[in-house]
């Protein structure tokens, strides 16, 4: 699969000839420098965007056959996201932010699930706080709870520690991996944080539009 965009008059290749399988239950880190195309790749894997060449399937479903709405429905309730800038809605409380994905894929006990997940990430007492009343670390915890609340099969994390100080970042990563283990979720994260990458089952480096496998031992601490 590949991705080209047009920049000015010239075509610009961001990703070319990628061949990648992500297996259920594995944790995969994609490393790369700034501007290497990590977020573009994440967008493609999460079916937020379409490749310009090749084929891509999600949960065994070829994405070429689906329009944007079809791809959205494929994601509903089955894919969770954690973003670098948290992406919490400022007018929603912590609980309402967590419940947001459940509005689209409701479960019988949505509200209770939201409370439970916020309790699990240590924010059981801050359910009705607005994002601006929470610290950066706390906001990312809300985002993590939101990613897991629908019992997704797959969680994507885009630089989840990028906006946090190292100590807070570490606590978030601990939490993310602990929850991932408990839920048996597939986790795909893109990062340039090597420490974070080393905790994954598998590691790939994105460079010059190509993916190359990276032995965990090769990932510098």
């Amino acid at each position: 699969m590949g991705k080209q965009v047009t920049s000015g008059d010239k075509p610009l290749t961001i990703l070319s000839d990628l061949d990648l399988d992500v297996f259920p239950g594995e944790t995969l880190a994609i490393l790369g420098a700034s501007g290497a195309g990590k977020s573009t790749l994440l967008g493609l894997l999460a079916a937020l965007d379409q490749p310009t060449s090749g084929e891509l399937s999600l949960f065994g479903e070829p994405l070429a056959n689906l329009d944007e709405d079809g791809r959205a429905q494929l994601r509903a309730g089955r894919v969770g996201f954690v973003f670098q800038n948290f992406q919490l809605l400022p007018t929603l409380t912590a609980l309402e932010n967590v419940l947001l994905p459940l509005e689209l894929a409701p479960l019988t006990d949505s509200e209770q699930r939201g409370r439970d997940w916020l309790t699990r990430v240590g924010l059981g007492e801050r359910l009705s706080h607005l994002p601006k009343q929470l610290s950066g670390g706390e906001q990312q915890r809300v985002a993590v709870a939101r990613a897991f609340v629908t019992d997704p099969q797959l969680v994507f994390a885009d630089e989840p520690t990028g906006n946090l100080d190292p100590a807070t970042g570490k606590r978030i990563i601990d939490l993310l991996f602990a929850l991932n283990r408990e839920a048996g979720t597939t986790l795909v994260l893109v990062t340039h944080d090597h420490a974070l990458a080393r905790r994954c089952d598998r590691c790939l480096r994105l460079d010059g539009g190509q993916l190359e496998p990276l032995l965990l031992e090769e990932v510098e601490a």
Binding site: M1, L18, D19, L20, D21, V22, F23, P24, S39, L42, G43, L44, L45, A46, L48, D49, P51, G54, E55, L56, S57, L58, F59, G60, E68, D69, A72, Q73, L74, R75, A76, G77, R78, V79, F81, F83, Q87, L89, P90, T91, L92, E96, L100, P101, E103, L104, A105, P106, L107, D151, Q153, L154, D158, T186, V188
Partner: protein, 857 residues
């Protein structure tokens, strides 16, 4: 081939119970009420509903009030007249339809006391008289209001008749074979209908005495009236059944024809209110459009996130449409309450005019109000809202990926279509709606180009400003900021122009309406009519009067003649079926002759006598009033035969005249050239104004010219003036409402542009600008925007007002020079001050807050 989580055992697990859009939209809207743009949307929608319901409720009730008022002047909701008694079947038909029926007989007869005789206009009434209103009566103990007629054996006299006969309450007068006791003097009757047939002073008596008097004989010239009072529904039920009677010579009287002054003023006031209501709705629409832009900007992140979590475009559309629907419904409730209060205010202003027992407000205006809110929302917010569903899920990773804004033209076209629909709904005139809409769209294109040009000029002027000086610096920076945000500024410029134009137009139309009304009945409007002036009295009459009146008195000769043929056929066969009972065919007409076109008359077809052919083949050229010609289906070249005495004169229509029936001056349906009618017996008629304190003149006229009938129309004139004053107040009240809607646009527009301004002032502050400079730059920017909007608004208002005058109010357009000064300067001041004040919170923010504000609530 790349695949992600291909063989998940859970892939079929997910249930789909559907998106809880209803619940979520309700919660979302409640949360959103904190946001300024949603508050602006709420205010705008509430104002649209308030304007339309207020005016709807009011007009609905006014319509009924007018019917009552009309009923009072007419003597009933329905008045049937004919030259012979009505049969019982007709009376029964009316009563079976829940109408209260009263009978009247009108005739001219001699009234005598001993040897003194006076012709009087007799009005014979029954026990139900009057169906509406009260008689202002002086029974010897001062003026009182009584809701009945004289008892059997009694007579009430007009003071002039009492004066001429030298009787007072307690004396007796003889009418035909009966002797009646004078028990009161009539100052004012509720039903003043009857026109100039009632030039003789009034004597009112009871039905029971009519037969005994022996006056009601077959063949005598008597007018029988059947007056009916009842609900509009009851009147509507019987009207179609009565229509057949018109072919048999029954006249069904209509207040608008009988008292055009009231009808015209009210019709124009109603049109004004409708127009003002629409202007308020248009302004609210513009505010909605402005606020929606900010609403959509603010919800792009939410939409992208929802898209990311799996929302389909349909779900997003439903969610946001529902959110706004709740808002519209909540605004409708508040708006309807405001509208109810507003119409109560309007009614309060008009209390003296409207009868007290008005029906309660009906549900229809309320429905119309809610419909208006939904239409405004769909039309003015719809296309912009669609942007939310086009948002890409990828925006969560790449913030810059905003969907393209809705095409400005799409927004304008959809809003115009919806507004055109509302115009149609409110005016009931598709042609007018289409015309206004088309004109509006053309104007918008012109304004768009003009606005772009103006912004270019502003930028060029700003860059040429010499350096130095804090004010010049602020002006330059302000202009640059305005020109840099070209498309946003252009949008604001247009919105403000339309707002100023709508506000100005409503104010202009108000002013011109009031002037027209005042011109219509100036201080020196004739308040006396004198008829039956004999040729021998003519010069003496003029001499007596000329001492007391400013204007040279014009006396019109009057010859009475009956239309005996039209185009050589019997009149009733020659005219359209619905004109067979026209008064002009049943009565003698007052014919006059004149060399020149009378004042207040306008030639609309053909040529006046001096330019046209003279008497040819025994046909005399005649000039006919265009309304009569239209009713009788006559055009130029047709002939009318008049029987005057024992002669017949054939006239050929050589000109049609339009004349002002509201003028309180003698007006004639038919005018002959000189030297045709002189040989017949004629008298003169005139109208003149006498100041109240010149009672001596009227007394002298009565004394010196006993044969002349002097009619004082001061009471009718006063009634019309009073009505105009009250309607004027109502019009001003509504103007205030439109101004409020205008302010809501300013609020919405300034709210919408707040984040951008915050960002800009944050940047300026980062680069070292102080509070004073930022405050000045913002003030300058708003002032320039206001000035330019004022200029364009003045242009738009002039054109729109001219169009509305011609199409709606039948007024002549004129240029309002003051507008070109007031609007730009007032606009600069208004936008400058309000914008500056609303941006105060922005200026208080730290640069960090300002720069982070974009995209958040």
């Amino acid at each position: 081939m790349s695949s992600v989580a291909e063989s998940s055992p859970l892939s079929a697990r997910r249930h789909s119970r559907g998106f809880g859009a209803l619940r979520w939209s309700l919660r979302g809207m409640r949360r959103d009420l904190r946001a300024a743009d949603v508050r602006a949307l709420f205010v705008a929608l509430a104002l649209a509903v308030a304007a339309s319901t207020m005016i709807g409720f009011f007009l609905d009730r006014l319509e009924r009030g007018l019917e009552r008022q009309a009923g009072q002047l007419l003597g009933g909701d329905l008045a049937l007249e004919q030259g012979r008694p009505f049969d019982d079947a007709l009376r029964q038909l009316l009563e079976e339809n829940d109408l209260t029926v009263s009978e009247q007989i009108g005739m001219v007869s001699m009234v005598s006391v001993d040897d003194a005789f006076q012709p009087a206009s007799l009005k014979v009434v029954d026990d139900r008289y009057p169906l509406y209103g009260e008689v202002h009566l002086d029974a010897g103990e001062g003026l009182e209001l009584v809701a009945h007629g004289p008892s059997p054996g009694e007579a009430w006299l007009a003071p002039r008749l009492a004066q001429l006969l030298e009787v007072a309450p307690g004396d007796s007068v003889r009418v035909g074979d009966v002797e009646l006791l004078v028990s009161g003097l009539i100052e004012r009757e509720p039903d003043q209908s009857g026109g100039f047939a009632n030039f003789n002073p009034r004597l009112m008596m009871h039905q029971a005495d009519a037969e005994a008097s022996g006056l009601v004989q077959p063949g005598s010239r008597i007018e029988f009236s059947l007056l009916a009072r009842g609900s509009p529904a009851a009147v509507d039920t019987v009207t179609p059944q009565l229509r057949e009677l018109t072919a048999e010579g029954v006249e069904i009287r209509d207040v608008r024809r009988d008292r055009p002054q009231l009808g015209n003023a009210l019709a124009r006031a109603e049109q004004y209110l409708s127009l003002a209501g629409l202007a308020a709705v248009l302004l609210a629409g513009v505010a909605v459009a402005m606020a929606t832009r900010r609403y959509v900007d603010r919800h792009l992140d939410t939409a992208a996130l929802l898209r990311c979590f799996g929302a389909t475009q349909r779900q997003l559309t439903r969610l946001f449409a529902l959110q706004l629907l709740w808002l519209a419904l909540a605004a409708s409730v508040v708006g309807a309450l405001l509208g109810l209060a507003g119409q109560a205010g309007l009614l309060w202003l008009l209390t003296a005019f409207l009868p007290i027992e008005l029906p309660p407000p009906g549900p229809l205006p309320l429905l119309l109000g809610v419909l208006t809110a939904l239409a405004v929302l769909a039309g003015f917010a719809g296309p912009t809202l669609l942007r939310l569903k086009r948002v890409s899920a990828l925006k969560v990773l790449r913030r810059e990926l905003d969907p393209l804004p809705a095409s400005a033209w799409l927004v304008v076209v959809v809003a115009s279509l919806v507004f055109g629909g509302l115009l149609w709904l409110y005016s009931g005139d598709p042609q007018l709606a289409f015309g206004l809409l088309l004109g509006g769209l053309i104007m918008l294109v012109v304004l768009w180009g003009l606005g772009a040009l103006l912004l270019g000029v502003v930028l060029r002027l700003a860059t040429r400003l010499p350096q130095g000086g804090a004010k010049r610096q602020a002006l330059r920076l302000g202009a640059q900021q305005l020109a840099r945000r070209r498309s946003a500024s252009l949008g604001q410029l247009l919105a403000f122009s339309v707002t100023f134009a709508a506000m100005a137009m409503i104010a202009l139309v108000r002013g011109d309406l009031l002037t027209t009304w005042q011109d219509q009945l100036p201080e020196d409007t004739p308040n006396y009519f004198a008829i039956n002036i004999q040729p021998g009295e003519r010069d003496a009459f003029i001499d007596t009067l000329d001492d007391a009146v400013d204007e040279r008195t014009t006396l019109y000769p009057m010859v009475r003649g009956r239309i005996s043929a039209i185009n050589d056929q019997p009149p009733r066969d020659a005219v359209p079926a619905d004109a067979r009972s026209d008064g002009s065919l049943r009565r003698e007409l007052n014919l006059t002759w004149r060399e020149t076109l009378p004042d207040g008359n306008r030639l609309v077809a053909g040529q006046w006598f001096d330019a046209g052919p003279g008497v040819t083949e025994g046909r005399v050229p005649i000039s006919v009033e265009d309304g009569l010609a239209e009713r009788l289906g006559l055009s130029l070249g047709d002939t009318m035969t008049f029987s005057i005495g024992s002669d017949e004169i054939v006239g050929e229509l050589t000109s049609l005249r339009n004349l002002d029936w509201d003028s309180f001056r003698p007006n004639f349906f038919v005018i002959f050239p000189p030297e045709v009618l002189e040989r017949y017996g004629h008298s003169y008629i005139t109208a003149f104004h006498l100041d109240r304190e010149r009672d001596d003149i009227s007394r002298a006229l009565v004394r010196e010219f006993p044969g002349v009938s002097l009619l004082n129309v001061e009471a009718i004139l006063g009634q019309v003036r009073e009505l105009l004053t009250q309607v004027t107040r109502a019009v001003e009240f509504v103007l205030g409402f439109v101004l409020l809607a205008g302010v809501s646009v300013l609020y919405a527009a300034l709210t919408a542009s707040r984040p951008t301004r915050a960002h800009e002032s944050g940047l300026l502050r980062v680069f070292g600008a102080g509070d004073r400079l930022i405050s000045r730059v913002q003030g300058a920017e708003f002032a320039i925007l206001g000035f330019a909007s004022g200029l364009m608004g003045a242009l738009l208002a002039e054109l729109a007002a001219a169009g509305v005058y011609l199409a709606w109010f039948d007024l002549a357009p004129r240029i309002h020079w003051g507008l070109w000064l007031t609007l730009p300067l007032g606009g600069a001041l208004l936008i400058g001050v309000i914008g500056h004040a609303l941006s105060r919170s922005v200026r208080r923010q730290t640069p960090m807050q300002s720069l982070g504000l974009l995209g958040e609530a």
